[in-house]
């Protein structure tokens, strides 16, 4: 199956700083999503982005499918951005949605 690697595993930021989270995947995909798991455990959909670039407020994401990676950008970070960020992918005829191990982000006031 498709392998998903996220980096860095942990990230500590001061409030107001910017950050880039990376997701590498081992095969072509037709589904790539970024999720934020908040401190209460809820999985929040951030982006559905199998290719191209999208923006939503302070967050944006870019997927370069031909090079098998996706980036999530967080600008002017806030303490409420803390939590775990997951990348999940599915590819080809395979309907499985495979998750990376996540990136734990802590934003300090």
């Amino acid at each position: 199956g498709i392998q998903v690697e996220q980096s860095p595993p942990d990230l500590i930021l001061q409030e107001g700083a910017n950050s880039t989270l990376r997701c590498n995947f081992s095969d072509s995909v037709n589904n790539l999503q970024w999720f934020h798991q908040n401190p209460w455990g809820q999985l929040i959909n951030l982006f559905y982005i199998p290719s191209g670039t999208k923006q939503n407020g302070r967050l944006s994401a870019t997927t370069v499918a031909t090079e098998r990676y996706s980036l999530l950008y967080i600008s002017s970070s806030q303490t409420t951005d803390s939590g775990v960020y997951f990348c999940a992918v599915a590819g080809g005829a395979n309907s499985k949605l495979t998750f990376g191990k996540g990136i734990t982000l802590s934003v300090r006031p």
Binding site: N30, Y48, F99, G102
Partner: protein
């Protein structure tokens, strides 16, 4: 618009007991998934289904069973609960193909 609904939200089981975790979606999605998330870890796929009557094993299926008799419902059955099944369980659905997945709020299960 309920989306994906999981019940119960919390449950404590004794070793050897059995239970069914319920998952229902009202978006007419074909694909449904069950994941477990152990503390501090990512999500591991237990079972998935691409339509009514069709199920398949994921990465960690042992100790679980599923059925998909309708498009809306995808229950997960635990037989003979073990402490290793203590986890948070998430159900998800998507229409299929190149579409976005949506998750339920999770069921926190403790086996003692």
């Amino acid at each position: 618009n309920a989306g994906v609904t999981q019940t119960p939200k919390f449950r404590i089981l004794k070793i050897g007991q059995s239970m069914t975790l319920q998952c229902t979606q009202d978006m007419n999605h074909n694909y449904m998934y069950w994941y477990r998330q152990d503390p501090g870890m990512g999500l591991k796929l237990i079972y998935y289904s691409v339509g009514a009557g069709i199920t398949d094993k994921g990465e960690v299926p042992n100790g679980y069973n599923v059925s998909r008799s309708t498009t809306e419902d995808f229950p997960l059955r635990l037989e003979l609960a073990a402490p290793s099944q203590t986890s948070v369980y998430f159900c998800a659905s998507r229409r299929g193909g190149n579409t976005e997945a949506f998750f339920g709020q999770g069921t926190r299960l403790t086996v003692v």
